[in-house]
């Protein structure tokens, strides 16, 4: 690499001036001439038959252009789920509604106030039906969510290892044997990993414009997957990929919420084509929890068996996962991501069995971490309980049971997946040997001596991300249902312009991750061209090479690697041109400080301007070298990546009220090589906020009738900066060996490592009172109740 300062250096985010000054372009900022606005009539019932829809009053309002129901759009068919297991959501409710907030009709009007008024004026008669809301009840199949499905259990994922029934039977036998031994202890925790409402600062928004003259759609959408959306629209309307242009401008938060093709994205395109006007829909904050996917929603039992000296002999995770009423993009595949990491970074036999269960609630799908925070939560909670039970240091128990560093390369997890690189004890040791961790323990002991309830929690984690491998396509993740067949590969195009500025065009786009900066660093490092002369273009289905999108902490590892390889190709070609101009050998050309020079003769230089100029004047090029200076690369990873880390928290609990104060939080994360430490730290900060938010505040609460009681930000408590301590971040670096950058991915690690760290700390604080577990979120009422129950039990 020609410069070391750019790659791995702290570079301020180049995208921030526009975002901070409010001049960034979001979908709702786009206003087209003649634009109309859509609003939705939504079901107030969790389960009901629609007996009539009367839109006459709405249609009579001046400025209301149309009211559409399923009868108008049935011919378009449903948006197909990527993993079409369960009930696919119809474009609009078809005779029956299956969750509160399900869209029943779409109103299109001249302004958004009128659209809302008209939606309120649509009269829908419902015949309420009994709702199946409780997850455990749903799993019994006593009452069906969908009459036409055989069971509420849509899918069962089982592994130990995955895909090998004989080996799994052997695993189960080993675990049962261990349980039956006299000299082992068995620890079991049933816990709720509650439903969460992912809350992006920018709710979803979409604007579609059909141009009948060109026969093309232009669609602006706040999406993580613009190319897939283009494919879905093409397929739905029977046009070609060439007839759809999707633009994802600035996206104000994704977290997996925008990793779906949503019905409203199709419906506004339909309305635009029908009415001959651009049509926009911007989701309101109030309707978002019921119109955008939710996350988590597991009830599971984690059981661990081990010896009294800390050797873990087996682990079981058996649970129910709430899918909601309809399957959307990945819905039933999300628990599978939990299966992936069910055995964490450990070597003990593991059996995992997860039932994906339908209920009359909003769909769940990918929310930051998606299956992995849930799985790691159970594993790290029960290991903590085991350490407590045998009286061993929680760090020591973990260290003793890790897959050892010398198992890499080639390590296969007990649930059957190949892991790239790992040195788990290194991250754990970096944490527990830090001054911060020692201070935490000392502070806890000091507070306890004062009669306070204080606790330190520890958790380690492994994550799987950077999806890849391309072969996932063979498991059904092909995106072909969206009319956009593609593997989990990455793409990047690097073009040196005639003035020697560089345009980088990539297949993924940011929803806050800082692609503009990170990709500039990757390219600047290869070419020796300053960051200021590099521009990154993303999120445009026409301009960008095909990409599957930004999710699963995959952009840098996969599309970043493609861009790295494209930059290498450009560099190789530039070296040819420079060698020609300098009359030197190609092998002797090196790049630095805005140009090329001959190794050993730094005076023999040629600037990038000269190289670029010559590139675009083919008659000046050496024989056999084509004109132009650009390259495209596809990177096809052989595996996903497996980051890991260790987290610790110090808490104080007010025993009189149950109030939990998070006093200190330390992390050691290992995401492989780091391109920009500041961006990596920022990703960890955000991930921690959302993980701690789950631990302490957030919960989607439904009543027995399926009404969402926490549907507004008044009742759905999100963490704010004021609720969180200053995070203390450290890292170890274990490069991945499956991509040229050696990077792994850091978008979700903070979320995956943190929730159980906080719960472990609170349980540690309450140990003197005999509390063994408290479910999340650790609301004061729940912590206080746990204290009362423990007192009652004494």
């Amino acid at each position: 690499m020609s410069t070391t300062s750019v790659l791995g250096g702290v570079v301020k985010r180049r995208e921030d001036p526009a975002l901070i000054q409010g001049t960034g372009l979001y979908v709702d900022d786009v206003k087209l001439p003649g634009m109309l606005y859509a609003a939705f009539v939504r079901s107030p019932f969790a389960h009901a038959r629609i007996t009539s829809i009367d839109a006459s009053a709405a249609l009579a309002m001046e400025g209301v252009e149309a009211v559409y129901t399923i009868d108008d759009v049935r011919h378009l068919g449903p948006v197909l789920a990527q993993v079409p297991i369960g009930k696919v959501r119809p474009l609009l409710a078809d005779g029956v509604v299956n969750h509160v907030g399900e869209a029943v009709a779409m109103v299109v009007a001249k302004d958004r106030y009128l659209a809302r008024d008209a939606a309120d004026a649509v009269e829908v008669d419902y015949e309420p039906l009994p709702a199946v809301v409780d997850l455990k009840e749903a799993a019994t199949d006593q009452r069906k969510v969908h009459d036409d499905l055989e069971s509420n259990i849509l899918m069962t994922w089982e592994a130990g290892p995955f895909g090998d029934p004989d080996a799994m039977a052997e695993t189960r036998r080993k675990i049962d044997e261990a349980k039956a031994r006299d000299d082992t202890v068995v620890v079991s925790i049933e816990a709720v990993n509650q439903r969460l409402i992912g809350t992006a600062i920018e709710p979803r928004a979409v604007l579609a414009d059909w141009n009948p003259g060109y026969g093309r759609f232009t669609v602006y959408s706040s999406t993580q997957i613009p190319h897939a959306l283009a494919g879905a629209i093409a397929k739905t309307f029977g046009v070609t990929y060439n007839d759809v242009h999707v633009v994802a401008p600035e996206v104000g938060g994704g977290f997996g919420l925008k990793l779906n093709i949503y019905n409203d994205e199709i419906l506004v395109a339909f309305a635009s084509q029908k009415l001959g006007h651009p049509v926009k829909y911007t989701e309101s904050r109030r309707e978002s929890p019921n119109s955008t996917i939710q996350g988590r929603g597991w009830i599971a039992t984690a059981t661990l068996v081990g010896t009294r000296d800390g050797e873990i002999l087996g682990y079981e995770l058996h649970g129910l996962c709430d899918m909601g009423a309809y399957s959307q993009n990945f819905t039933v595949a999300i628990p599978f991501l939990g299966v992936f990491v069910a055995s964490g970074q450990y070597k003990f036999p593991t059996h995992v069995k997860l039932d994906c269960v339908a209920t009359h609630t909003m769909t769940t799908d990918a929310y930051r971490g998606a299956g992995r925070p849930e799985a790691i939560y159970y594993l790290e909670r029960v290991i903590d309980a085991y350490a407590r039970k045998i009286g061993m240091d929680p760090a020591e128990v973990r260290r003793k049971n890790y897959i050892p560093a010398d198992a890499f390369p080639g390590a296969i997890s007990p649930v059957g997946f190949a892991m790239d690189t790992g040195d788990y004890a290194k991250a754990l040791d970096a944490l527990v040997e830090s001054d911060g961790y020692r201070e935490m323990l000392a502070e806890r002991d000091r507070m306890r001596a004062e009669g306070k309830l204080a606790g330190v929690g520890l958790s380690t984690y492994v994550e799987v991300c950077g999806f890849g491998p391309s072969g996932l396509v063979d498991l059904g993740f092909s995106w072909s249902e969206y009319g956009a067949p593609s593997a989990f590969s990455g793409s990047g195009l690097v073009r040196v312009n005639p003035d020697s500025t560089v345009t980088v065009i990539i297949g993924t786009g940011p929803s806050g991750q800082g692609h503009q900066t990170t990709w500039s660093q990757i390219v600047a490092d290869q070419l020796g061209i300053p960051l200021e002369r590099i521009r990154v273009i993303h999120g445009d289905s026409e301009e960008s090479p095909f990409g599957v999108g930004t999710f699963g902490s995959r952009s840098a590892a996969v599309d970043g690697s493609a861009t790295f390889e494209a930059a290498q190709k450009v560099r190789a070609k530039a070296a040819k041109i420079a060698a020609h101009l300098l009359e030197a050998s190609e092998e002797d050309i090196q790049f630095a400080d805005g140009g090329a020079f001959v190794a050993g003769s730094p005076d023999q230089t040629v600037s990038w301007e000269e190289i670029a100029t010559v590139a675009y004047q083919p008659h000046r090029l050496p024989e056999g070298v084509e004109g132009g200076l650009e390259a495209h690369a596809i990177f096809s990873p052989a595996n996903a990546t497996w980051p890991f880390g260790a987290h610790a928290a110090l808490v104080e609990v007010d025993g009189d009220t149950g109030d939990v104060r998070l006093l200190r939080y330390i992390t050691v994360d290992d995401c492989g090589n780091v391109i920009n430490p500041m961006i990596v730290d920022g990703q960890i900060h955000g991930g921690l906020a959302q993980g701690i938010g789950q631990a302490m505040f957030e919960e989607a609460v439904y009543d027995a009738d399926g009404n969402l009681l926490t549907g507004s930000l008044l009742d759905y408590v999100l963490p704010t900066a004021a609720d969180l301590p200053s995070f203390e971040l450290h890292r170890t670096v274990t490069p991945s060996d499956i991509n040229p950058l050696g990077v792994k991915g850091i978008g979700e690690a903070g979320t995956i490592g943190s929730a159980q760290t906080v719960v472990n700390a609170v349980v540690d604080a309450l140990e003197p009172l005999g509390v063994e577990h408290v479910d999340m979120p650790l609301r004061p009422k729940r912590v206080w109740q746990a204290i009362q129950d423990a007192k009652g039990g004494n």
């Binding site: 505040f697 408590v717 704010t720």
Partner: protein, 282 residues
């Protein structure tokens, strides 16, 4: 989140505002708009007319009237929180209301007039025995705090009345406010809160008022607590015994943040903490 259509006026003085208020079938007064606007956007409230008193001069003052401190209708929470003239219970309650943006925009009087069941400042003005000064087209009416809070989001204000001022008697003694907020500590709406005011003379508690918020349908005076504490020496054990009576006569309301049992417990804890602090301040 789009309100239904409504008319809007921004009168120049209170008389004009009162007139405007009387002119519409369903009019609402807006000061900081921190509660009214969200309710309108959620379509929980759809007034025909919004009377914005924000342009009226002279309402943004905290005045010492000799026997009382008068808080004008446009005094922001942040102003109340920063004023040495305001008793500690109300000052603290204002400081723990909302977040920085809300405290810079929302008003103490508006919060009291809105009467949210989990708001902080209504409990404080009730414990401090404040007088509400209501202005209407037909004149001015004084309402004692004890009679002001009727039910959830419901006060003794008549449709044509504007809460123009809150007067807090300069009765001496000490006061304090304590709460557990929804996100823990003192942040967010009160899961339970208690405002206390005490007067000491000759080494014993001669007068006391405690008001609770967050636990029932309205801010409520805990009369049993006052009864138990008056005449005692205000010691820790006296406070503890008095606080045990916090929920006497209170209709407890279970919500997402607590069961009746938990709220009853918290009411006692917060009462004891507020009393201890108030006695220290007295």
């Amino acid at each position: 989140m789009f309100p239904r259509s409504f008319e809007y006026v921004a009168p120049a003085d209170l008389a004009e505002a009162a007139e405007a208020l009387a002119s519409a079938e369903f009019a609402k007064v807006m000061s900081g708009g921190m509660s009214l606007i969200p309710m309108m956007k959620l379509r929980l409230l759809s007034p025909d007319l919004v009377v914005d008193i924000g342009k009226i001069r002279g309402l943004d003052q905290i005045e010492d009237r000799g026997d009382a401190i008068a808080i004008g209708a446009l005094v922001r929470h942040a102003q109340t929180a920063a004023s040495d003239a305001v008793p500690a219970a109300l000052r603290t309650a204002a400081a723990w209301t909302g977040d920085t943006q809300v405290r810079n925009r929302g008003t103490t009087v508006g919060s009291v007039a809105h009467a949210d069941i989990a708001a902080d400042q209504p409990a404080a003005v009730l414990a401090l025995g404040a007088t509400m000064v209501a202005r209407s087209a037909s004149g001015t009416r004084e309402i004692p705090a004890d009679e002001f809070f009727v039910d959830a989001l419901t006060t003794a204000l008549e449709p044509g009345e504007i809460l123009a001022e809150i007067r807090i008697p300069k009765a001496g003694g000490g006061s304090a406010y304590e709460k557990l907020g929804r996100r823990g500590g003192h942040t967010d709406y009160a899961v339970a809160g208690a405002a206390a005011w005490v007067q000491r003379s000759n080494g014993s508690i001669s007068d006391c008022r405690v008001a609770l918020t967050g636990v029932g349908t309205k801010p409520t005076l805990a009369e049993g607590v006052a009864e138990a504490l008056i005449g005692t020496d205000g010691s820790a054990s006296a406070v503890e015994a008095a606080a045990a009576r916090a929920t006497e006569g209170v209709t407890l309301l279970e919500d997402l943040y607590g069961s009746e049992e938990y709220k009853a417990h918290l009411a006692k804890v917060m009462t004891a903490r507020a009393l201890t602090q108030a006695i220290a301040n007295a």
